[in-house]
Symmetry: C2
Subunit: 348 residues, 2 copies
């Protein structure tokens, strides 16, 4: 075994289309297109997480101010702009999207018993599962209050449906924990529900409020869905391949939590009888041995499983780009296309 936990970045990662610093540039360029709106979204988030119950903003701020990438609300703003939207509803809608995402993260960390999130101790590790469940509920409710302020029932329906779909995806994932027999299709069903649905909705509502042809909003939704799938696959790759400090959370979390992701599905099905036995033991025993993660990474490397997963991500990335064909060329469209490459190349 040539792997140690300290050498977990496999050569495959080096093949990423963009380096980390280029990645940040892409995200910054995209943000610059909607700079004032993006600042407005942050202001809405900070204002709407307020409550007289001071634990709520304290806990919410821990997560929201810790600077996630804010990709989802950014998509709402950019989608609206791409459709020539002139009003201000997109700001509140983008904040709704981020609140729903934050609520999901809070509940996920409880479900996964995670201790790290965005390079910091997770909220549940600091304040307990109970507070995380309840503050998640609060933010979720606030999202819907904010949607009422927007006053657009159609977008409200899209976001309510996305929320239900996310919960379904999370339940699916929970049921399939430690199940090495799941097939790729099931993995993609889970990803579509738990991740792609909110990316899709984020883009869709941005388009809808601008009221272009339905086909245009749908194209944006298709971009969001494919991009979200691509994004999640890379997340699952990074869980085995990232630099821990850059990632902001522990490497190997999925492995420890028994989440059967695309690289594992692939390596398991390609594996020898001995390898299958290793995976089965690793995914059923209570605690992992100290070399198990390195062993898993070695098998993933042997079968080029991360490379395979990256190729699938690239496939969805291509779909995402194709969905934007309905739009004329523009700098904004070009930035959205680059975002796909950012996602494929990111290391965190």
């Amino acid at each position: 075994m040539g792997f140690s936990p300290m050498a977990r970045v496999s050569p495959e990662t080096e093949a990423s289309p963009l380096s980390s610093s280029q990645n940040s540039t892409v995200l910054r360029t995209l943000t610059d297109f909607v700079k004032a709106d993006f600042a407005a979204v942050n202001a809405v988030l900070l204002q709407e997480m307020q409550s007289e119950i001071d634990l709520i903003p304290r806990l919410a701020r821990h997560l929201i101010a810790s600077g996630g990438k804010r990709v989802r609300p950014l998509l709402t703003l950019v989608a609206a702009k791409l459709c020539g939207y002139q009003g201000m509803q997109h700001v509140d809608l983008a904040a709704c999207v981020e609140f729903i995402h934050t609520a999901t993260l809070l509940h996920d960390d409880v479900v996964d018993e995670s201790n790290m999130r965005r390079g910091q101790a997770s909220a549940n590790a600091l304040w307990g599962n109970q507070a995380s469940v309840l503050v998640g509920d609060f933010l979720f409710s606030r999202a819907f209050q904010l949607m009422v302020r927007v006053g657009n029932l159609e977008t409200l329906g899209v976001l309510a449906k996305a929320s239900a779909t996310i919960a379904e995806g999370e339940v699916m994932q929970l049921m399939d924990n430690n199940n090495l027999e799941i097939v790729e299709q099931r993995y993609f069903d889970i990803v579509r529900a738990k991740t792609a649905a909110l990316f899709e909705a984020a883009c869709l509502v941005g388009g809808m409020i601008a009221k272009p042809d339905v086909s245009v909003s749908q194209a944006l939704g298709a971009y969001g869905s494919a991009f979200g799938t691509c994004f999640q696959i890379i997340d699952d790759v990074l869980d085995y391949a990232a630099d821990e400090q850059e990632l902001g959370k522990s490497v190997g979390d999925d492995f420890r939590e028994g989440k059967v992701t695309l690289p594992v599905i692939y390596a398991y099905h390609k594996g020898t009888a001995d390898e299958k036995q290793f995976w089965e033991r690793a995914f059923t025993q209570e605690t992992l041995g100290k070399n198990d993660l390195a062993q898993a990474q070695a098998y993933l490397f042997k079968h080029k499983a991360l490379e395979y997963a990256r190729s699938k991500a690239a496939f969805f990335g291509k779909q995402a780009k194709a969905a934007l064909d309905v739009f004329d060329e523009s700098d904004l469209k070009a930035a959205l296309l680059s975002l796909v490459d950012f996602s494929l190349g990111r290391r965190y």
Copy 2:
């Protein structure tokens, strides 16, 4: 000490205005006024909890079909009828109210680590905390999808706000766990948020869709809020005084979970130094001694603390009744007034 866990029904309970069988009659009478609508609500609940992910309806059905009292959706239906409402929106809205309530129960049981609910093993005890959190999120999202179907933004705003308030109330309660120094006012703030807000919203939206004078909807809201407070105080009394089988959950849960409720606040403040020491020990130590509940009940009995709490409940009950003064006399109004007595007299 004249108390043993087997003799936990104190004589105070006997002073209830209505016996159990009379209670059921009151609830049945009220339900009969809106029989077809009530059946329609149940049908909507069963239909809308469906999902391709079969764990979701299985877990939801466990709670929803286990036959809670359905007081909250009943209030929505009755409020609408009292205002002469002729449409069908009240059915979906009532179902939304019950879904929000169910989602809250699922999350509460996770927060409280409860093992019993409505005379059965609680969902988290059967399927784990993770599934309970996620299915709660699903039902919550479904509630909002259903509200979109209703298409009334005003009622949507009321229910979204109530949901946020419930979460705030639960967080307050969590922060005050084991804190014997909290005063009555804080207790009532918590009750208003975690319980009364949804009763208020349930009544309010029933009135709002009928579009009577704003003052009429507000009167219904005031009824709901005062009734909900009364309802919660009795809940807190029953936690020390009920017959376990009738109650459908363990007696002494609040005590074990460190929830400082009105009877305890009262007895603690009235207590001798020795008694205060007992309460402090009971509310701070990890596990309770086998006689601690009986001892607590004895002190509550000594200071007539349950009687005191019942008198406060009666005060809010009176407020609830007074709120209905704006309505002409009718059988339906009489039934709503009796519901207050049911709540004061109930043993489960």
